[in-house]
């Protein structure tokens, strides 16, 4: 049963190496670290149970990311936690620059799937192919969506500058 032990070890190695990033993304979804941490534990428990369905066609990590996102979204829906991107910045903790507020508003307004794309892109540093695998969509969808979202934010920046001038 060499494959079984190898696959379990691979998951454990991934868990230990990338744990903070999984929790970071989960927290961005769930809103607090305790729930995020629980979501990551549940997600890895899920992939252990389902590891037979991993075919090795794509990166193992992307497959695990999908489980983490699903667990985080489930936790968010159960708990109704605060969305960190809809909160006003705490006094003294943030430099309230206009651009920050533009980005905050942009993230807050993103549909769920686009927001997950952004989190995987910027928090997890995944490339389009890995994001596509994690979200179960075509690579072209990721590039088109992020490009469109960036373009919208750029326009927003430009408009803000024009107003300030």
């Amino acid at each position: 049963m060499k494959e079984k032990s190898t696959r379990l070890d691979d998951l454990e190695r991934l868990y230990r190496e990338r744990y903070p990033y999984f929790v970071q993304v989960a927290r961005a979804v769930v809103g607090n670290e305790a729930s995020a941490s629980d979501a990551v534990q549940d997600a890895f428990a899920q992939v252990i149970r389902k590891r037979s369905s991993f075919r090795g066609d794509g990166p193992l990590e992307a497959w695990v990311w999908r489980a983490v996102l699903n667990a985080a979204l489930a936790a968010q829906r159960r708990g109704g936690a605060l969305d960190p991107f809809e909160l006003a910045p705490e006094p003294g903790t943030n430099d309230p620059r206009d651009e920050d507020e533009e980005i905050r508003a942009w993230v807050a307004a993103l549909p769920e799937r686009q927001r997950l794309m952004v989190f995987l892109r910027y928090y997890a540093d995944l490339d389009y192919r890995a994001i596509a695998t994690a979200l179960g969509v075509e690579v072209g969808t990721i590039s088109a969506t992020l490009n469109a979202a960036h373009a919208a934010l750029r326009r927003s920046f430009s408009a803000a500058k024009e107003v300030s001038q």
Partner: protein
């Protein structure tokens, strides 16, 4: 990452910083998974006994990893044994397999005859070092070429630096370097019977892995003792099959593990904007040679004509722009490309035919890979299988045209009557 993206990343990280905490209890994960306690105990013991395990491996490696070197006294796996002998006893596997490319099929416009496209995969797998070099190609064009090594190095060119990569190989292929005998002995693989594949008498070996949820069947040619077909079976249904074109093992240190020279599939950024409704006369001005199917097709009237700006940018290239022309017959409105989530379009309610045209194959219109996949003259490429929107891609009179329709019959009907737009 440019300055703009750095601003986004900076804000996101300030809002939700990377936690300082290290990984929580892995045993907690395992407990949550419901894995039996005896396995948990085994995993614990393995970690504690790693040094002894490594020493033991040094003694038994030959028996576990290279069973064929013991001769043929092991009669319980005679078929696998003969197959192992047939492909040799080297630690490096070199194989070429072919498999249908999803639902991608060439359709002859005159006859309707379908020719499924085959992906050829050539793989070199070094069992000892866990190196995998894989090249996937179609019609001689390599679209995927990567060399993968466990962690840290040799990942695909665009793989994130922090992202571990664990190369793996199809278990049925890996079996020829890891040894079928152990799989047969522990009950994960067994001979299931005889049959015929492409006129060859074969013996079927079935590999079951991980909880009996998935299996692979390997057809061993009774004459050559070489594998000629691999089928992935899930819940009784064949999910994918491979024809084995060639398979051999090579000596230690050999095989093609040289670094790919270039990224054969650069990341592309796509864009489509400035969508404007125009007249059919202006369509010809916007895209000389633009095609249509007349003012109606199968009782579907031409409902709109639009022009769009299409943008393509690869990793290191500047943006390039071209003009796209979009014609809707039946249900559909300008600005919508169903199937592209970025436009948030909804499924059309009725029957429709949409024609999306440009002078080059822009991925906005044809989202799968394939700038080098021009279908032969008089045919079109379809990729939708049994999913709506049904699609077809073809090149006619220098125009790349994607057809989206509510039925495959409408796609074919439209492809057959494409003609230059006449006022």
């Amino acid at each position: 990452m440019n300055g703009f993206e750095e601003k986004i990343e900076s804000f996101l990280v300030r809002t939700v910083p990377l936690p300082a905490s290290t990984a929580r209890d892995w045993e907690d994960v395992v407990r949550r998974s419901g894995m039996p306690a005896r396995r948990l105990k085994r995993a614990y013991l393995i970690r504690r006994l790693v040094p002894a395990f490594v020493i033991a491996v040094a003694f038994i490696a030959v028996g576990l990893i290279a069973p064929w070197q013991h001769g043929r006294s092991f009669t319980s796996s005679a078929v696998a044994e003969r197959a192992l002998v047939a492909i040799g006893d080297g630690p490096v596997l070199h194989a070429v397999v072919r498999t249908p490319d999803g639902g991608r099929t060439y359709v002859d416009l005159a006859t309707g005859q379908e020719t499924p496209q085959l992906v050829t995969t050539e793989v070199w797998y070094d069992k000892d070092r866990r190196f995998v070099h894989r090249q996937d190609g179609i019609n001689g064009h390599v679209f995927l070429d990567y060399l993968a090594k466990p962690f840290a190095s040799g990942k695909p060119k665009d793989w994130p630096e922090r992202m571990p990569y664990i190369p793996s190989l199809d278990p049925a292929l890996a079996g020829f370097v890891d040894g079928y005998r152990s799989a047969l002995e522990n009950g994960d693989a067994h001979v299931t019977g005889a049959g015929t594949v492409d006129g060859h008498d074969v013996t079927w070996i079935e590999l079951t892995f991980f909880g009996n949820e998935a299996t692979e069947r390997v057809a061993i040619d009774q004459a050559s003792s070489l594998p000629i077909r691999i089928e992935r079976v899930n819940k009784g249904k064949i999910e994918q099959d491979f024809d084995v074109v060639s398979i051999e093992t090579l000596p230690e240190g050999s095989g093609n593990f040289s670094k790919p020279e270039e990224d054969v599939s650069p990341t592309r950024w796509l864009g489509r904007d400035q969508v404007t409704t125009i007249s059919q006369e202006n369509a010809v001005q916007a895209l000389p040679g633009a095609l249509w199917v007349g003012k109606s097709i199968s009782a579907l009237e031409l409902s709109s004509v639009a022009r769009a700006r299409l943008m393509t940018q690869t990793n290191e290239s500047a943006s390039s722009y071209e003009t796209g022309i979009e014609l809707h017959y039946g249900d559909g409105s300008p600005g919508r490309i169903w199937g592209d989530e970025s436009t948030a379009s909804e499924k059309p309610k009725g029957s429709y035919v949409w024609l999306l045209e440009a002078t080059i194959s822009n991925p906005v219109y044809w989202t799968s890979r394939g700038l080098d996949e021009e279908p032969p003259a008089g045919s079109m490429l379809t990729d939708s299988g049994d999913r709506e929107p049904y699609d077809g891609f073809m090149v006619k009179d220098g125009i790349n045209i994607t057809i989206l329709a509510s039925s495959p019959e409408l796609v074919l009907a439209a492809a057959r009557v494409l003609t230059p737009i006449r006022p």
